[in-house]
Point group: C2
Chain length 199, copies 2
Amino acid sequence: MPRTPAPGTRDRILGVASRLFYDHGVRAVGMNRIITEAGTGKNLLYQHFPAKSDLVAAYLEGARERRAEAMRRALEAAGDDPREQLVALVAEVATTVRHPRFRGCAFRNYLAEFPEDDAERDGTPAVVAHAQLEESRAAIAERVARLDVADPDRLVEQLWLLVDGLYLQAAYRDRLDDQLDPAADAAVDLARRLVNTRP
Amino acid sequence: MPRTPAPGTRDRILGVASRLFYDHGVRAVGMNRIITEAGTGKNLLYQHFPAKSDLVAAYLEGARERRAEAMRRALEAAGDDPREQLVALVAEVATTVRHPRFRGCAFRNYLAEFPEDDAERDGTPAVVAHAQLEESRAAIAERVARLDVADPDRLVEQLWLLVDGLYLQAAYRDRLDDQLDPAADAAVDLARRLVNTRP
DNA sequence: GTCTATAAGGGGATAGAC
DNA sequence: GTCTATCCCCTTATAGAC
């Protein structure tokens, strides 16, 4: 049984691939380009990732971990009030969206690129993407459930609409010099009004 | 000078291509499939559309005309009150989204599929898509400008967030049995509250 | 043995020629 | 309509360098 050679290789390949996938789209980036920019051999890449699909799934999995960590930090900073936590979740997205190199939500971008990619086996990119979206939505639903509002389901939908709206706008509004800051501010403002409305 | 042969040919090709592009995505549909399903010859297709890009642009242009017509009808039915017109614009999107065969916004789908398609020449698909989005947003901004609200820009952003949120959710929430109806209702409800808030 | 570099297989794309 | 040219894709196999 051979030892795992060159421990940093997998991470380096995955890092290069992740940046390329995110910046240019999964379909637009070929394996050749990843190999060239990573400075590695083709054999080694296919040893760590038997197919491009595995590499894409690992890319989304990494993005998911980073998103989960960011959400966790935002919730911690918001304290114990579920209303403040809900505002913090939307505000975290608003902050993420403002990042200069932000180019849309990685998971929604993937699903838009591969609309016919069914969720068959475990570890499929589509499965990872759906899991992240459901997890993110569940974080909102949990906190809304702790509020005393007349129609909690509706509030979840409305907050989720803000999040999705922000992500989608970020995906196309950067073409012209259209800044996302007003949209991000408007989303946070609206989220605060929504969670503070008494039944 | 040869006569224009078979006047309905162009429309037939465009109709078949539009349906395929919308249902399966632009990248997933090759020219061969369009030719096969349209029952036309390859020569004839390239005579009407010299490149695939031209066919895609015509597909988006057609979708744009249909969207403009739907918006015009919704505004007419809403009467002269700008508040009712704004609610009608969001409600029209909510209705469109509920359609069983709805598979997302054609323009946003295209921009997601081709993120690096710059707007260079006229008639490019990306140009058509951007024009439609700006036109749709302008329809909201015009009516908000006629309201006496404290921060009109913010209201435009918030209404636009609802529209984008609806469109994006429609693009991925239909995978599982997740119905869009609650989201559509929530969006219309929120739009009504937003435009009826006094400064 | 481990990695790189290169070539080739198999498929499908657009576009054009006949 | 069929057939071909050209290109790029993912993937595998082979050959060479440290």
